[in-house]
Amino acid sequence: MANTAEKILEIKDLKIEFVSKDSSLTAVNGVSFHINKGEILGLVGESGCGKTVTSLAIMRLFKDTNGKITQGGVYFKDQNITTVSDREMAVMRGEEIAMIFQEPLTSLNPVMRIGDQICEVIRKHTQKTRSEAMEIAKAMLMQVGIPRAAQVLQDYPHQLSGGMNQRVMIAMAMSLNPQLLIADEPTTALDVTIQAQILDLMRRINRDHGMSMLLITHDLGVVAEMCQRVIVMYAGRIVEQADVVDLFKSPKHPYSKGLIHSVPVIGRRADRLESIPGNVPMLAKMPEGCKFAPRCKYKMDRCEKEEPRLFMVDGGRQERSCRCWLMEEAVI
């Protein structure tokens, strides 16, 4: 069933490098995945694993950094958007793909009223007049559950709470009715009860508008509640790709296993948490072979020399794959 679904975004063999005068660091290497129409895809991993860089590459937001896509491409509805002109890309941002970030307060302009900020987006992309745009902005704010929408239009970001600002960001992202929303840690900075509200809102938007989402997070709880499929990244590579239920029930990659078993789960008592020894490797000092080998308890000799490719698991059903030599025998 999953194979017949329409792909809204496809990333093929993406490599992103940060180039400076005398060195180049590879942040993301050989990343391929796709998002189906109407699904919420989770991208999990710890800091420095390349999840945010991947999302910035989709939006082509590298301009002011020395980051470069050096290999592969990003296809939005079969069009390679790594090669379109900046002008075309500017149109796509907002109209086709929108993005929300972790810190709503730093993503909003502090000296501009909420209403004006949303209007700016709408008027840049459409022929609407200011008052028409303001009406849409108000309707959007109401849709994301902001009470007193008319008044909030007149407010500045600092007058609103974190949760409210994130709702404003979502309203702004939705105002042009894009088909894909990239949410980079959208609830990480929020309190638990507010996080629950925002996740509920995102789920509703996904259901009612059929909006596809790429949800980037480090929080396995959020992934379990929101996503249908999950991609686990480590050190710039995809290490596992699976249906959400399969991933939590029987994680295949030693890293996914370690990650899932190292978080305490409410109602499931353990005397001791499992932990992954060591630290995430630094970009400049990547180990040869499997990048996880130095921390892996199943490490074999070959892991330190050869990097495994993504092996299909379960005969490729559910598009399940895992980058580990242990899975080699599982290839059919």
Partner: protein
């Protein structure tokens, strides 16, 4: 029954805040009548959302802030009015670790000196002995002895938190106040630090005041839990009671809001309406009444009394009084 280490009675802390540049002063009640006790060797957690006063409470107990009113007793000794000089010998018994391991270690001091600093203040050990002890402490927290000559920037977040812990336990304290000690760490590192804290507790008989917003972590590590909302404790119970039969509507909502890392678990979710009110202008009566799904008339008028419903399970809610 183990002995009581810390006792806090009706503790209050009010900050004066100005509204705007020329505005008039207003009172912000960060901690508004909090009472609890910490027993030797246990982990008491303070859990709540931002602005609930959990960090302020932690700082008050260590007298890093002077309480506005109320009492703090350490082993029955009233320290509320102690001066800094009087506090100094007591600080040996009470240490703290912080959320941000990047900003809580002086970047220009070597690891060996960072860890031995408390020894220098609190003991008459010679420099050499101090360094020996520091090296041993590094090993206890799972770092190599070779790290003695390094500076904090050479370590990752998890390693820095270990250094912070080594420094805090160097003088064999009885109480460690841990303010969000794992919130800034990656998931795989978080469990390393939690395991270390539990091991140290077993070996040294340490008591923890564990301040956190993460209910999953709190369930894992606590003996007892206090839930705070806008400066007040709304519920106190043993871990099993609090997670098994939460009584206060806020506790229930909080627990139901936590995303659980199990996609097959379908749970009832209580979605609270609205935001946390500002502590400068808190609601009257029970300050949770503006968001409470079970709010009644009395709730907006009268502050609920704290009642013991059995086994030391305390709850402040009109539903139970």
């Amino acid at each position: 029954m183990s002995k009581t280490l810390v006792q806090v009675k009706d503790l209050r802390k009010t900050f004066a805040v100005k509204k705007g540049f020329m505005g008039k002063k207003q009172d912000l009640k960060a901690v508004d009548g909090v009472s609890f006790e910490i027993k030797e060797g246990e982990t008491l957690s303070l859990v709540g959302e931002s602005g609930c006063g959990k960090s302020t409470t932690g700082r008050l107990i260590l007298k890093l802030l002077q309480p506005t009113s109320g009492q703090i007793l350490i082993r029955d000794e009233d320290i509320t009015e102690y001066t800094d000089n009087q506090m100094r010998p007591l600080r040996r018994d009470m240490q703290m670790i912080f959320q941000d391991p990047y900003s809580s270690l002086n970047p220009r001091i070597k690891i060996k000196d960072l860890i031995s600093e408390p020894l220098q203040v609190h003991t008459d050990m010679k420099k050499e002995e101090q360094y020996q002890k520091a090296a041993a402490l590094l090993e206890i927290v799972g770092l190599d002895r070779d790290n003695m000559e390094k500076y904090p920037h050479e370590f990752s977040g998890g390693q820095r938190q270990r250094i912070g812990i080594a420094r805090a336990i160097s003088v064999h304290p009885r109480l460690l106040v841990a303010d969000e000690p794992v919130s800034a760490l990656d998931v795989s590192i978080q469990s390393q630090v939690l395991n270390l804290m539990q091991d140290l507790q077993k070996e040294m008989g340490l008591a923890y005041l564990f301040i956190s917003h993460d209910l999953s972590v709190v369930e894992h590590i606590s003996t007892r839990v206090c839930v705070m909302y806008l400066g007040r404790i709304v519920e106190t119970a043993t871990r099993d009671e609090l997670y098994g039969t939460p009584l206060h509507p806020y506790t229930r909502a909080l627990l139901s809001a936590v995303p659980v890392a199990d996609p097959e678990l379908k749970k009832e979710r209580i979605l609270l309406q609205g935001d946390i009110p500002s502590p400068v202008n808190p609601p009257s009566g029970c300050n949770f009444h503006t968001r409470c799904p079970e709010c009644r008339d009395i709730c907006s008028q009268v502050i609920p009394k704290t009642v013991d419903v059995g086994n030391g399970h305390l709850v402040s809610c009109h539903l139970y009084s």
